[in-house]
């Protein structure tokens, strides 16, 4: 029971820029937002925190005109209004940067910035030159030096995000909503984004910042609002609270930092990779991966760190037989050299992979939870090709119970589960294949704090049962928590190896950005060798 304090005494003098008044949004069977009231003050950076499903994104979509029908009222500068679509919101100066970016990949950066509001010449034709010049100016003001003519799809995620911000700035936005903007960014890109945010605030832009990363919230925010299960829980001054309290309000219970104190005892080598290289056809850089060698032992968690595009996902894909072109080099699994052309071969040999993009590459949305678990191992519950429903259910139930998936039942829709439980469902699927090596590609992406800690415990438990586990992550603290050893990739090459005791964020970042510090010469060398660029 927190004392309701929607507007704190220190700032109650200023008139709110946005007043959210008793807003409710119902979906069939779910109340996404339940009677939420909230004031946003002019010029502040207001963080909205909450676990997945707390209603953060729904509220922001209402503010940005993405969801036009809801109960309750929104007042902008004191005047009640209801945006029919995002254009109306944009006209009123409200823009949203979605977590999943909304760029037309085939169009240039400049074309994306002016999409829908293209500049034209006196003849009514597109004013490419004018748009490029203006785009360049906007991008430079955001520390982004990509060419306005560059195809949006060819850019890094961090740059794509800045294009979205530039787009928002191009129509004089004074309220910017950012939905988990750092979830796909590397640390350097995050630092740049924070500088951009500081610059926007200096211009007087009011920012609504959705995140569940406490360090970001406490670095940036003036005030923090916590939502839980669609309800407003509390709005606090940053200076009057701490990360522990916010986390507590978000989950409704205390979360201790996960620590695996009991040392693991790695066994014999289960996977050995020798000078693995992966060609990158049709690309200026000839190799996605170059001469990567390492060993993985039973009962060990091996982490791969690296910036976006360093080749983490590609490495795991090679080990799983899922790469676009076959890799070169030797992969030895339990003493036998293997050469996978298809994931099915890797699966049969005892390698399992949980992919990075759950929705696109992992889940079968039309299947229920049980069917999602059993899909890889149906042969085991079938005779003569016919599935025994009872045996299938028994198998799925056991695996779901082993991982502690929270679900209404095996016949519940997979889409009704939270992100963390969806991820556990996919791990449950793969554990049934009795793998020797488990590959986890950014397993906690888009998963909230409580579920993360639980997932760490699951991974630790599996490792102690004798699995060899490889984890990649874009969050260094995660790797430092989980892994016995951390290897660092930089542009497809292995640039560092640290044991748990040696590893620090500082050292890993240095290895991951070697290209920018010491690798200049080799970069020039490989550039001339690949020609053209």
């Amino acid at each position: 029971m927190e004392a309701p304090a929607p507007v704190t005494s220190a700032t109650s003098g200023a008139a709110p820029l946005i007043a959210v008044d008793r807003v409710t949004k119902r979906y069939p069977g779910v109340i996404a937002l339940n009677d939420v009231s909230l004031n946003i003050l002019p010029g502040e950076l207001h963080a909205i925190c909450g676990e997945n499903g707390a209603g953060k994104s729904t509220l922001m979509k209402i503010l940005a005109g993405v969801i036009p029908d809801y109960e309750g009222e929104i007042r902008l500068r004191g005047a009640a209004l209801r945006f029919g679509d995002t254009r109306a919101a944009e006209a009123a100066g409200v823009a949203i940067i979605h977590q999943e970016l909304n760029l037309v990949e085939e169009l240039s950066a400049a074309a994306n910035i002016f999409l829908g509001r293209e500049l034209t010449t006196a003849w009514g034709l597109l004013d490419e030159r004018g748009m490029n010049a203006r785009a360049r100016e906007l991008l430079l003001s955001l520390e982004c030096d990509v060419a306005p003519q560059a195809r949006a799809g060819s850019l890094r995620v961090g740059d794509q995000q800045l294009i979205e911000i530039a787009k928002a700035l191009s129509f004089d936005t004074d309220i910017l909503i950012m939905d988990e903007p750092t979830s796909a960014l590397t640390e350097t890109e995050v630092a740049r984004l924070f500088r951009v945010i500081a610059r926007l605030r200096a211009r007087g832009v009011t920012i609504l910042y959705i995140s569940h990363k406490m360090d970001e919230v406490f670095q940036l925010a003036d005030r923090v609002t916590v939502l839980r299960d669609g309800k407003w829980v509390s709005t606090l001054e940053r200076t009057a609270t701490n990360a522990r309290e916010i986390t507590h309000l978000m989950v409704g219970r205390e979360i201790e930092a996960t620590q695996f104190t009991e040392p693991r005892r790695p066994g014999e080598v289960v996977l050995e990779v020798n000078r693995l290289s992966l060609a990158w056809p049709g690309h200026a850089k000839a190799w996605r991966l170059r001469d990567v060698s390492f060993q993985l032992r039973r009962g060990e968690v091996l982490g791969f760190a690296g910036l976006m595009g360093a080749g983490r996902t590609e490495l795991l894909e090679c080990l799983f037989g899922a790469s676009q072109v076959p890799p070169q080099g030797r992969i030895v699994l339990s003493g036998h050299e293997v050469n996978f052309f298809q994931p099915v071969e890797a699966m049969k040999a005892g390698v399992a992979m949980v992919t990075e993009d759950r929705k696109r590459l992992g889940l079968f949305a039309q299947f229920d939870v049980g069917q999602n678990v059993s899909i890889c191992t149906l042969d085991r519950v079938a005779s003569g090709g016919m599935i025994s429903a009872a045996a299938e259910e028994r198998m799925a139930r056991a695996s779901v119970a082993r991982l502690g998936v929270k679900t209404a039942g095996l016949s519940a829709a997979i889409t009704s589960l939270s992100g963390g439980n969806q991820q556990k469902t996919i791990i449950a699927r793969w554990l049934l294949t009795e793998p020797k090596v488990l590959l986890l590609d950014d397993p906690t992406r888009g998963i909230d704090v409580g579920a993360k800690a639980e997932l760490y415990r699951v991974i630790d438990g599996l490792c102690r049962e004798g699995l060899g586990v490889i984890v990649t992550s874009s969050e260094l603290p995660e790797l430092l928590t989980l892994c016995d050893r951390i290897l660092v990739l930089c542009e497809g090459r292995l640039t560092g190896e640290f044991t748990r005791d040696e590893a620090t964020e500082q050292k890993i970042m240095e290895a991951a950005t070697q290209r920018e510090v010491g690798g200049r010469k080799s970069e020039v060398g490989s550039g001339s060798h690949s020609g053209g660029n």
Binding site: D69, A80, A322, P343, L363, F364, I387, S411
Partner: protein
């Protein structure tokens, strides 16, 4: 616990709501037709038999088309596969038949020849399906393109093939006559553009009402077992639902696609043989023309999603029945044309309706749709009114046409004006407090 059971039974009804809805719709349409048209009342058995025979012929290849759609693909070639299979089947029969001399009726074919003809047609379909699978999985053509090429190409190939087969048959006959010492006064006649298939036993296949039905029922059972009880079936749904995830889950997606397109082509070929038997000839010009869309329509009306991964065998069967019942009803009630004339219109209308219904159901709870916005909406109102008027004029009378068109026009215009007024009037929420 009781709430769990309750929600379970509700989810059962929810899961089969499409099938239940179709069943009700079929009953309503059939009852209405019986009420309005004396033919149904006077010869109920005969009408029912005809209805079942027609439905079975469509259903056989609609099941194949649905399987392809569930696996996430599309097979546009079935109409031409039907024509081509008829040609293959009757060619084999012609060329293996003993040459009859003179004008006496040809002798009945042996069972071996009949079997060879049917199996030959099926084997050719297997090759066609395999070619589709290769184009799609190896060359990586979109299924739409690969099967569209077959749709156009196979019919053309059949048309070139038929005169050649007839020429060869004439040559055989001429050689046999020469050997028998009979002179042929008939050799100068033009080469026919269709192949004849008179054999009495072969003719029974498609024209006896229960034979297509029996084949259809066997196929329904087999397909239902395959899709809902086997590993392959589950994998097909997975493939259609999320191809990438299926591949990464260790499913051999290329083999599954091969299976899907082969089944799609072979069911079409089976239907082709039956059609050929029904009309006693293989006419590459007209056989199966447009049927690919009828099959896809039956699948879609039966609840298959064109995105793949969704659809059931009972749904497709009911979709076929519904389509046929409606076509029959329209043909019986409006004397303006034959069933064939109406078929395209009904198929088009029902497909739009079914897909639109699915879309609306999915976006339920989202925004309310304004159906006639702006200039597009105004023009659409005119188009719909004109179309209704034209249909009424063609099927009833010119006067009915004007009336129906006028009523639709007035109704939609009034609805639009009312909606506009409601949208622009101030909502109570925006009053200042």
């Amino acid at each position: 616990m009781s709430t769990l059971e309750e929600s379970h039974s509700r989810s059962l009804l929810h899961r089969y709501r499409n099938e239940v809805g179709l069943l009700i719709a079929i009953t309503v349409v059939a009852a209405f037709t019986t009420l309005m048209d004396p033919a149904y009342r006077e010869k109920p058995i005969q009408n029912l038999q005809e209805l079942l025979r027609q439905s079975s012929l469509i259903g056989i290849f609609a099941l194949g088309a649905a399987l392809v759609i569930i696996s996430g693909g599309i097979d546009l070639s079935s109409g031409s596969v039907i024509a081509f299979s008829g040609v293959v089947c009757s060619s084999i029969m012609l060329l293996l038949a003993p040459v009859s001399l003179g004008d006496d009726a040809p002798k009945p074919l042996s069972l071996a020849v009949l079997a060879a003809a049917i199996l030959g047609a099926m084997f050719v379909a297997f090759l066609i399906g395999t070619l589709h699978a290769w184009l799609i999985t190896v060359v990586r053509l979109p299924p739409f393109v690969a099967t569209l090429a077959s749709l156009v190409g196979l019919r053309s190939l059949a048309r070139i093939l038929v005169p050649q087969i007839n020429v060869a048959q004439h040559a055989r006959k001429a050689a046999a006559m020469l050997a028998a010492g009979i002179t042929d006064d008939d050799s100068s006649k033009a080469v026919s553009k269709l192949l004849e298939a008179y054999d009495p036993r072969f003719r029974q296949l498609g024209s006896t009402w229960w034979i297509p039905l029996a084949i259809f029922v066997v196929l329904i059972v087999a397909m239902w077992l395959l899709l809902s009880k086997t590993v392959i079936g589950r994998h097909l749904y997975a493939l259609g639902g999320n191809e990438q995830a299926a591949r990464l889950s260790g499913i051999r997606t290329d083999r599954l696609k091969w299976l899907a397109y082969v089944i799609g082509a072979m069911t079409a070929s089976l239907a082709g043989v039956l059609y050929c038997s029904e009309v006693a000839s293989a006419d590459p010009e007209t056989a199966g023309r447009g049927y690919e869309l009828t099959a896809i329509a039956a699948a879609v009306v039966g609840g298959c999603s064109l995105q793949g991964g969704i659809g059931t065998v009972p749904g497709v069967v009911l979709g076929v029945l519904f389509l046929r019942v409606v076509i029959d009803a329209v043909a019986k009630l409006f004397k303006g044309g034959t069933a064939d004339d109406f078929e395209g219109m009904i198929v088009g209308f029902l497909v739009v309706l079914a897909v639109a219904f699915n879309e609306l159901r999915q976006s339920r709870g989202g925004r309310r749709i304004e159906f006639f916005p702006g200039a597009l909406g105004a023009l659409t109102i005119l188009i719909l009114a004109g179309l209704t008027g034209l249909l009424a004029a063609l099927t009833v009378s010119a006067r009915a046409g004007y009336t129906a068109g006028g009523v639709v026009l007035a109704g939609l215009v009034i609805a639009r004006i009312l909606k506009r007024r409601r949208a622009t009037s101030p909502t109570p929420a925006s009053e200042q407090g």
